[in-house]
């Protein structure tokens, strides 16, 4: 079943179009990877779905209905949550409070349940409950950003730059969390520079360049298309 559908979407900043005429379809329960070089428009696409970057034309359908006129707040109530680029934690709030905000749209009971799930996935966070987010190390911040988004119990979770600044072990932890969510039926849209890693977990892939979709298909197809990888993702063979 289709969960999210972008139809000829244009979005951008002021008069500047960051993304042109993008169409894609994300199925319920799958992992969808959005790949592409710097400045391709990946983050813009995600933030546009979340309701933060201005949609200029086209439509965003969620569960079949057009949500482009809804506010960011209404979208989270539909089940769309984001762990944005640069993490954008609430710096003065502690870890605990950041998570509280993450679960703000839910009842206290659900919030408590979700908090436990986050703590099991990221035990490191429990050690520093009262530490302000601004003083966390880069990796800790990434965990918190994912945890915060998970608190909202999303049906569609969008994660921008999953492994940015993470040590290999932490990358494993995050992907483990992603797989766990998938097993719970959560649909995931991720942006990733670590192409190899992304292709391992993703079901479908879209490659963006200069704001336009240049390739779409399954992850398996992508792995078997060396030209594509060379040309747009620059994943050299020997890189690990």
């Amino acid at each position: 079943m289709t969960m999210l559908q972008l139809e000829n979407m244009d979005c951008g900043y002021g008069a500047f179009h960051a993304v042109h005429d993008l169409s894609l379809t994300i199925e319920q329960g799958e992992i969808f990877a959005l790949l592409g070089p710097n400045g391709a428009g990946k983050s813009s696409t995600i933030m546009s779905i979340a309701g933060h970057v201005q949609l200029m034309s086209g439509a965003i359908r969620f569960d079949g209905t057009d949500i482009s006129s809804l506010s960011a707040r209404e979208r989270v109530r539909l089940g769309i949550a984001v762990a944005p680029e640069g993490r954008r934690l609430f710096p003065d709030l502690t870890i605990e409070e950041n998570l509280t905000v993450g679960g703000y749209s839910l009842s206290r009971e659900r919030e408590a349940v979700n908090r436990e799930i986050v703590f099991t996935l990221f035990p490191r966070l429990t050690e520093r409950l009262k530490q302000p987010a601004s003083t966390l190390s880069g990796g800790e911040q990434q965990m918190l950003a994912m945890g915060r988004a998970m608190m909202a119990e999303p049906r569609l979770l969008m994660i921008d730059e999953v492994s940015l600044g993470l040590m290999p072990k932490m990358v494993d932890v995050c992907y483990h969390a992603i797989n766990h969510l998938k097993s719970q039926g959560v649909t995931i849209l991720l942006v990733e520079q670590n192409t190899k890693r992304a292709l391992e977990v993703a079901d479908h892939v879209c490659v963006l360049e200069s704001g336009q979709s240049v390739w779409q298909g399954t992850a398996a197809e992508a792995q078997n298309a060396p030209d594509l990888i060379e040309a747009f993702l620059g994943m050299a063979k020997e890189a690990s």
Binding site: A50, R73, F90, P91, L93, T100, V101, Y104, S105
Partner: protein
């Protein structure tokens, strides 16, 4: 004994500062706006309070009406004046706010006359003895009312999820919205509460002075700015403590330092002293 009475006087004055400053803290905390026009709302509260009391004879009703109407005016000011310039540098809002404040003072002068207005039958003028201190009933009511209002707010903001949501909205409204916080509601409520508090202070000052004048907001306008800075980025409780401290320092200062410095200068000398020792304010984190 004299010291105790001076202390009591300082606390009464400090209560007024606290009521005004708390509202300003809320606005400053949420939007980083030095909302000078807040003092204009304080004055409006005084006018509404006196007019309604004179019309109905009930001070309590007047207080309520003042808080609600001024709260609504506060929300309107947010919507019409600040919301469109939120993304601009802070001094833009500061100057806009100052312009607004000047205009408000002039409107009061033109509408209510330059001489100000007074209660026909000043309420709460009786004198009470408490712990050997002589106070007017109005002063007791002021201090008690402040503790009640500010205390309630402190609990509300510190202990509730809404309080956390409020602080999240402070640093990143867009993200806060992305987690289901209705930032529009937070901001309106913020202005409503802050303005209603200012209005209550206005009514209390009207009561203590038996007079409301167009320019009565000027003193609280800058004193309250000093207080919110003194308190650093603390909380509502911090504001209360800083305001009371300032009230007491002024009370003793006027008597013992009045020959060298006037009241404002005493307050600001204290402020500068504190900031030089603790640049992050009295209760701020380093």
């Amino acid at each position: 004994m004299l010291y105790v009475e001076l202390l009591a006087q300082g606390l009464v004055q400090g209560s007024i500062y606290a009521l005004v400053a708390v509202g300003l803290t809320l606005v400053y905390g949420l939007l980083r706006i030095l909302h000078v026009a807040h003092a204009g709302l304080f004055t409006l509260g005084g006018y509404v309070g006196v007019l309604v009391t004179n019309a109905t004879g009930s001070l309590l009703l007047a207080l309520l009406v003042a808080m609600v109407t001024v709260g609504i005016v506060g929300m309107a000011i947010y919507r019409l004046c600040y919301q469109p310039i939120l993304d601009k540098p802070p001094y833009v809002a500061l100057i806009a706010s100052i312009g607004l404040f000047i205009a408000m003072e002039e409107i009061y002068r033109l509408v209510f006359g330059p001489y100000g207005i007074s209660f026909e039958n000043p309420p709460l003028q009786d004198v009470v003895q408490m712990f050997g201190v002589t106070l007017r009933l109005g002063e007791v009511a002021t201090a008690a009312g402040t503790l009640l209002l500010v205390g309630a707010l402190a609990v509300f903001s510190g202990k509730t999820r809404f309080g956390t949501a409020w602080r999240a909205t402070v640093t990143d409204p867009a993200m806060a919205e992305s987690f289901g916080i209705d930032i529009i509601k937070v901001r309106y409520l913020n202005f409503f509460i802050g303005s209603a508090f200012a209005a209550s202070a206005g009514v209390m000052v009207a009561l203590l002075n038996n007079m409301v004048e167009p320019t009565m907001g000027s003193v609280p306008s800058y004193k309250a700015l000093a207080i919110i800075v003194l308190r650093g980025l603390g909380d509502v409780r911090g504001t209360l403590v800083a305001a009371l401290a300032l009230g007491v320092i002024e009370a003793f200062g006027t008597i013992y330092l009045g020959k060298f410095l006037d009241r404002d200068a005493i307050a600001f000398a204290f402020l500068i002293l504190v900031l030089m020792v603790r640049p992050q304010g009295l209760f701020g984190r380093a």
